[in-house]
Symmetry: C2
Subunit: 155 residues, 2 copies
């Protein structure tokens, strides 16, 4: 499985203008249309490119608050707890981590009251021992992959 500069340039292009057609991509990259099609197919087949999910500004949707929680889990109940967390709509991301905590959770909410409710729900999951939460005040660097792609593209 290879990933060359052309792949990276293609993905960068699609990052900037994701609903671009194959033909237009080919033009901008200076390659044949079939090449772009083949690359996209291959990237998908290899599992590198898993999709183009819509990127939403949750705050514009009413979910203006983001909070993080570190959960300490009772012995051997991690999987079970993770499942319960996944069932909570406002839980947007869960990682199992090394270190002080066992699970790391990102969640969103509409208001302070709403956040209180979500947090209660999260820490109320059976198997959760100790928790510590903090609220995101701002996001200096929003989730991104661009720099890595640019490096591969020899930007």
């Amino acid at each position: 499985m290879t990933f060359d500069a052309l792949d990276a340039r293609l993905l960068l292009l699609l990052t900037d203008a994701p609903r671009l057609g194959v033909l237009e991509c080919a033009r901008r990259l200076g390659v044949a249309r079939g090449t772009v099609q083949a690359r996209l197919d291959r990237l998908s087949a290899d599992g590198v490119l898993t999709g183009f999910p819509p990127e939403l500004r949750l705050d514009a949707l009413g979910y203006g608050l983001t909070a993080f929680a570190v959960l300490e889990i009772a012995q051997g109940r991690r999987g079970e707890v993770a499942e319960e967390l996944a069932a909570i709509d406002e839980v947007c991301e869960v990682h199992a981590t090394t270190g002080q905590g066992d699970l790391f959770v990102r969640m969103v909410a509409r208001s302070n009251d709403d956040l209180q409710r979500v947090i209660d729900e999260v820490v109320g999951v059976p198997g959760v021992r100790r928790t510590s939460t903090s609220i995101a005040l701002s996001t200096p660097v929003a989730p991104r992959v661009r720099p890595l792609l640019e490096r591969i593209a020899q930007g």
Copy 2:
């Protein structure tokens, strides 16, 4: 600015099949093509829908390790530190938070050695006081918005 069930259903549809054409969306939603077009335009104009970035599996790209760091920052140097962090390619996300730490960082790396290097780079940013890092062992819930959309769509 409104966001109704149709908008949510449209976005869900695009979540599942992002490179779907407008016409096909219209068919599946059972509405006229112009309606879908208008909705997409409006969502973009309103800033709710900011794009369709390609979703990559970084591990398939060689970046198999994800780590989190909580940084305590020297008084009044948060902005400055955030800028420095943004300049590090492997830093994929930074949040300013309340609570024990001041900045929360997500980063990726190719290997343990590589991670060591990245961490050194991060904690070496001038203005960073104390740090604590942990490695993501698994990701039970990958970043998602789906449940919230489904709720709005009255799923």
